[in-house]
Symmetry: C2
Subunit: 92 residues, 2 copies
């Protein structure tokens, strides 16, 4: 019988499949455009889906100023959101 | 009827609950010790559970040299593992 994936393996798989689901809509599945990020947030994290929030996230996370988020920048977003949601943010 | 959590909400919840599950075993539930990290990897990511791997992860991720991983350092680990697993690592 195949080994069941662990909780953390499932968590990592969700992060990756969510990126792939939204990154591919404009033909380039390696990056997430602002439009794709907006669609992702509307469907996946509705409380963050406002235009201002999408713009702020893009400006903060698009470290190489490419106008898109690559997978690493996307993962930093997830890390930041996770920290905010769990109240673990370091003192500013 | 209560709204179903989205996939990404579930992913974030898994990351947080996994941290809490292992961070609390030594009484300090805000950080993960080397022993707790080893237990987490053995149960959650067995392919990374070797002593060398645990030591390398701790040395790389324990940015403030506290001997433990806080939640942000843990999230960086998740980001790195996710990138490795998905082949999205930036060129070294």
């Amino acid at each position: 019988m195949a080994k069941q994936p662990t909780a953390l393996e499932c968590g990592l798989a969700i992060l990756h499949s969510t990126f792939q689901k939204y990154a591919g809509t404009d033909g380039d599945n390696k990056t997430i455009s602002k439009k794709e990020l907006s669609a992702m947030l509307k469907e996946q994290l509705p409380m963050l889906a406002g235009d201002e929030c999408v713009t702020a996230l893009m400006e903060t996370l698009d470290q190489d100023k490419s106008g898109t988020l690559d997978f690493m920048e996307y993962c930093v977003m997830i890390t930041t959101l996770c920290s905010f949601a769990s109240g673990h943010m370091p003192p500013q």
